[in-house]
C-alpha cells in the first residue's frame, strides 16, 4: 500500500515501475535545459566578449569562445574608459558606489530595525497609521516624489552630494525594511518582552540586548536586500548626484552609450560585467537568504 502511494505521488500513473528516463522526464529536463540556456546566454556572452580582442569581435560570432584570451579590456574598463572628458575608467564609479553603499545600508537598516521594533512592541497611538502610509508609499511611482526631494535636498545643502543620495536610499528603503523587521519582531514571543519590562529594561536596552541578537538572520537578509538594491540603483543616482559622484551604474551607462569614439564592445562588456559582479557575488554567496530577501517583498503585512 505504501509502495503504491509513493508511486502515485510522483511518477506516471499505473503499476509500471518508475524508470529514470521516462518520456515525460526527458521532455521536462529538455525544456529546463533549453530555458536555462536563454538565462545563461547573456552571462556567457558577457564573459567571452570581454576576453576577446577587437579584431576577433569584428570577425563575428559573439557566441564563440575567445581564440586568444586577453585581459586588456578589463584593465581598460577599470582604469581608462572615458565618460565625456574624464578618462579614469569605472574605478571612480566603483569608489562612489562603495561610498554610497556602506552608509546607506547601515543607516537604512539601523532606522528600519528600530522602526520595526517600535511598531511591534511599543505601539503608540497612530503608529499603525504611519506604517500603513509608509507601505502605501512604497507603491507610489518614484517620479511623483523626485522633484520635492530635489527641493528638500537643496534646502539642507545636500543636493548632488553622496550624503544626499544616502538619505534618499534610506527613505526609499524604509517601507520594505520596516515591514521585514516588524514582521520578524512580531513573531518573537511576547513573554520575552514582558519579562524584560518587568526586570526594568527600557526601550534601547531591550532592543540592543534582546531583540537585536535574536534578529541576526533577518539583519543578514536586510543587508543582502539593500546591498543589491542600492548597488543596482540607476534612477536616484542619475538625478541626485553630479558627474563627479555618479555611482557605478550611471557611469557604466555613460561609458557604453556614449556616442563619441569608436565602439569597443569588449571594453563595454568588461565594464558591464564589472558592474554586475558585486550583486552576482552576493547572489551566489548568499543562496537561500537572497530568496528569502526577495520573498519579503511578496509577503503582505
Amino acid at each position: 500500500m505504501a509502495d503504491i502511494s509513493t508511486n502515485t505521488a510522483q511518477g506516471p500513473r499505473g503499476p509500471k515501475p518508475k524508470k529514470a528516463f521516462s518520456r515525460a522526464n526527458i521532455f521536462l529536463y529538455g525544456t529546463l535545459i533549453v530555458v536555462s540556456m536563454y538565462y545563461l546566454l547573456p552571462l556567457y556572452v558577457m564573459i567571452v566578449t570581454s576576453l576577446k580582442g577587437m579584431p576577433e569581435i569584428r570577425m563575428g560570432n559573439v557566441f564563440g569562445p575567445p581564440m586568444e584570451i586577453t585581459f586588456q579590456p578589463w584593465v581598460k574598463a577599470w582604469s581608462e574608459a572615458c565618460t565625456g572628458i574624464n578618462c579614469d575608467g569605472l574605478s571612480r564609479g566603483f569608489g562612489n558606489s562603495v561610498r554610497i553603499l556602506i552608509p546607506s545600508v547601515l543607516l537604512s537598516i539601523a532606522i528600519a530595525s528600530v522602526n520595526g521594533y517600535a511598531l511591534s512592541n511599543w505601539k503608540f497611538k497612530g503608529s499603525e497609521t504611519f506604517f500603513t502610509i509608509l507601505i502605501i508609499g512604497a507603491f507610489i511611482p518614484y517620479q511623483t516624489m523626485l522633484y520635492p526631494i530635489v527641493i528638500m535636498l537643496r534646502e539642507i545643502g545636500l543636493m548632488g552630494s553622496i550624503g544626499g543620495l544616502v538619505l534618499v536610499h534610506t527613505v526609499f528603503g524604509m517601507p520594505i525594511l520596516t515591514l521585514l523587521f516588524r514582521n520578524y519582531f512580531a513573531s518573537i514571543p511576547e513573554e520575552l518582552f514582558k519579562a524584560a519590562r518587568v526586570d526594568g529594561a527600557g526601550f534601547w536596552q531591550i532592543y540592543f540586548q534582546i531583540m537585536m541578537p535574536m534578529a541576526l538572520p533577518i539583519f543578514v537578509v536586510a543587508i543582502i536586500l539593500q546591498v543589491t538594491g542600492i548597488w543596482n540603483d540607476f534612477l536616484f543616482g542619475v538625478i541626485y548626484t553630479k558627474p563627479s559622484t555618479y555611482p557605478m551604474t550611471v557611469q557604466l551607462n555613460n561609458i557604453v552609450n556614449s556616442v563619441q569614439g569608436v565602439k569597443e564592445y569588449n571594453v563595454n562588456m568588461a565594464a558591464t560585467l564589472l558592474t554586475g559582479l558585486v550583486p552576482l557575488v552576493i547572489y551566489f554567496a548568499s543562496g537561500k537568504l537572497f530568496v528569502r530577501g526577495i520573498a519579503a517583498g511578496a509577503v503582505k503585512g
Binding site: T8, R13, N25, Y29, T31, L32, S36, Y39, P42, L43, T49, I57, R58, G60, N61, V62, Y117, A118, W122, K123, F124, K125, S127, E128, F130, I133, L134, I136, G137, F139, P141, Q143, T144, M145, Y147, P148, I149, I151, M152, V171, M174, F193, K194, G202, F203, W204, N232, F234, I239, T249, L252, N253, N257, Y265, T275, G276, P279, F284, I294, A295
Partner: protein
Amino acid sequence: MTVTSEPPSRSGKRPAKLFKNWMAKLASLPMILTALVVFVGGTAWTVTYSFTGSRMLPKTDWVGFDQYERLWSTDRWIISIKNLGIYGGCSMILTLVIGFSLAACLDRKIRFESAFRSIFLYPFALSFVVTGLVWQWILNPDFGLQSVVRGWGWESFTFNPLNDPNTVIYGLLIAGLWQGTGLIMCIMLAGLRGIDEDIWKAARVDGIGTVKTYVMIIIPMMRPVFITALVLIASGIIKLYDLVVAQTGGGPGLSSEVPAKYVIEYMFRAQNLGQGFAASTMMLCSVVIILIPWAYLEFGGRKRG
C-alpha cells in the same frame, strides 16, 4: 531611560498622553517624517504643482488643466503610453505564464532543482542597466545573434528588433523577461510548495491528468499568490525606466519611450516642470487604479486594522 508605560501597550482605547512611550515615538520619528513629509507631502506637492505653468522653477501661476491637455496632445506621451501598454500587457501575461511553468517544472521533484533555480533567478540580482546593455549587445545586428545565424548559412535571417521602430518594444521585452521572470518563478514555487500533497493524490485517484490538474485545481487554489505576483509585476512595469535608457535610449526616434522617461526628461532636461508634474500625476493615477481593486480584494474581505 525610565519609560512609564504598561508592557506591549495595546492601549488604543486608553487616552494616550503625548509623552507616554516618548522614546518609542522619538525612535519612530524618521518613519513618521518619511511617511508624512516625503510620501504624503511630496506626492501632494507634485500633484498641486501639476496645475501650474512651472517651467524652469516651480511657481504658482495656476493654469488649471492646461498641462494635462498639452500632455495628452503630445505625440511623445501618446507613444509612451502605447509602449507601456504593449510592454505591460505582454510582460504581465508572459511573466505569469513563464514563471508558473518554470515553477511547475521545478516542482516535479526533479534533480538539480536548486541549480536550475539559481540559473533562473540570477538575472534578478543584476541591474536593469546591466540587463539592457547585455541585450543591446546580443541583439546587435552586425555582431550579435543575427550575424551569427547568418554565419551559419541562413543568409536571409533577420532578427534586429532594436533598430526597427515597430519591434523595438519586443526587444525590450526579451530583456525585461530575462531579468524578471526568476522572481515570479520563485514566488510561484513557494505557492506550489504550500499546496497539500493530498490534492495531487485525489486528482490521481480521479484520473485527472497532470496538466488538467494544474489548470483546473492548482491555479485556482493559488489565487492569492497570483494576485501578489500581478501586483509585483505591475508595479515593476510602471517603474520601467533604466532598462529603456540603457538598452535603446528611447530610440530609434521616439519609438521606445516610456512614461517614466518622459517625466524625467521634462523635469530635468527640457526644463518644463509643469509637464513633468502632470505626467507623473498621470502615473500616480494609473497606480491608484491598479492598487485600489487589489487592496479591496486583499483587505476588503477580512476586515482588520
